[in-house]
């Protein structure tokens, strides 16, 4: 097996396929109090993230849209990771998750999000893995311009 094949298997783990085939929290949310659109103009990936926040805690989160396996799985895993966390905890997690994919990995337990670590070896795909997070961030700060990953 070549180094590249090893990297490819790290990228496309079974958890990624599972969340791509059956994304969690994949529906719209009429009762959402925050939402934002995300768009990656280079590859056409598009999604909307919905949030219901109570007392600074993410009570519910969902998304709809379409994209590649990495972006769909990342959005799905993100919704599981942020539910029940405070807004400050989520923003800190986004910062650390971004660093996990692009810089020195921070010391923290990423839980299931760690399956996306393989994206590190594919700089062209970092945008796919972070689109949902940028969109979530925009929803939190109330920015209604579509989120970009650039």
């Amino acid at each position: 097996m070549s180094a590249m094949d090893g990297n490819l298997r790290e990228l496309y783990q079974e958890v990624i396929f599972d969340h791509n085939r059956q994304p969690r929290n994949f529906h719209d949310m009429p009762e959402a109090d925050h939402h934002a659109d995300g768009h990656n103009p280079l590859c056409g990936d598009q999604l909307t993230v919905y949030l219901r926040i109570n007392n600074d805690v993410i009570e519910d989160v969902s998304f709809v849209g379409h994209g590649c396996a990495i972006s769909t799985a990342s959005a799905s895993l993100m919704t599981e990771a942020v539910k029940g966390k405070t807004v400050a905890e989520v923003e800190a997690l986004f910062k650390d998750f971004h660093a996990l994919l692009t810089e020195t990995p921070p010391e923290r337990d990423f839980g299931k999000l760690a399956v996306l670590t393989g994206v590190r070896e594919f700089p062209a795909r970092v945008k796919c893995a972070t689109l949902a997070w940028h969109t979530l961030h925009n929803a939190l700060i109330g920015d209604h311009d579509p989120a970009r990953t650039e």
């Binding site: 070549s2 180094a3 990228l11 396929f17 590859c43 056409g44 990936d45 590649c68 990495i70 795909r125």
Partner: protein, 421 residues
Amino acid sequence: MNTVADPLRAPAATRLPVADDFPILARPVHGRRLVYLDNGATTQKPTAVIEAEARFYRESNANIHRGVHWLSQHATELYDAARATVQRFIGAARADEIIFTRGTTEAINLVANTWGRKQLTAGDEILITTLEHHSNIVPWQMLCEQTGAVLKVAPVNEIGEVELDSFDALLSPRTRLVAITHISNALGTVNPVAEMVAHAHAVGAVVLVDGAQAVAHQAVDMQALGCDFYAFSGHKLYGPTGIGVLYGRAELLADMPPWQGGGDMIRTVSFERSTYAEAPQRFEAGTPNIAGAVALAAAIDYVQALGMDRIVAHEHALLEHATAALSAIPGLRMVGTAAHKAGILSFMIEHIHPHDLGTILDSEGVAIRAGHHCAMPLMTRFGIPGTARASLAVYNDDTDIAALVTAIEKAQTLFGTRKRP
């Protein structure tokens, strides 16, 4: 086109003896042989072109149209000779109908900003087609905003063809400009340009043809096409980036105001008023890409030495071979199956997003394009976010197609969606 490939009936894949001419093809990617099938984005460069550009800087570099010194005159001669080479290559009547630009995009923007701003007024119509690249859409949208002109779009049918009837239905005496692609970069459809030009001229419209995907893949002759403007890039024609061409009919160029002001485009300058040079200098402000023009001429020489007839025959046979080989893969759907196509294969793989496919093919050394190909309205027309696109050039052969097929099967295996034919 969904018949299973029959090896006895599949056309024989051909090979041109050119692989050694392209040094980059010898470099491995991810430890594998580079299988370069992204020629619609840019072609690789033969040694003859790389050397021509290097030789210019080594032996001939000086600014043009300036110096009384020998080297400047030498560089000017090379630059003018490059213009004459382009003129002969596309069958222009005169060398001063050839304007050097940075590429196709700049050539189209030049027409929009000079001819368009002078000629168009509110209510005039510009007709394009659904096949267009963003560079043949956005400049016209900007021009419409500036002038009040209206953009009309001829539709494509299910297989990616612009039907002449629906094109004609949108032509009227209000149509001032028709801007159409010669060959679709996303689907490979070859438009019936000569007929479209004749029909557009019949209502008095001027016609611009985007030839970015055409000039390297078929003979292009301005007299046979009859168009008024023709735009193309050097880098899709085995030449360098940053050099391209706008062909314009002399009568039209003579009446067009300059776009960018600066050196070389003037006749006289005073603080009260400046007068402008004739075409093509009027449209080439500043020091142009001299080395790029010289290397573009070398690329044209390379293509002509190879022979356009041989290139067309080779790429056509390879397209048929590749179409049969890809269509035999279960779960693969071709997008764009026009009767008249050039060497571009756009496709979707069931359950695998083009972007994921692009990454997995890359791991096998197979370079393709994945996405909307700068033709988002066309993708919207087909209800898809994008496609995977393999585009052919002179150095591709059946081993490249075999590598592409194997890599697609690897992706299907990885995604657990592979079905035996």
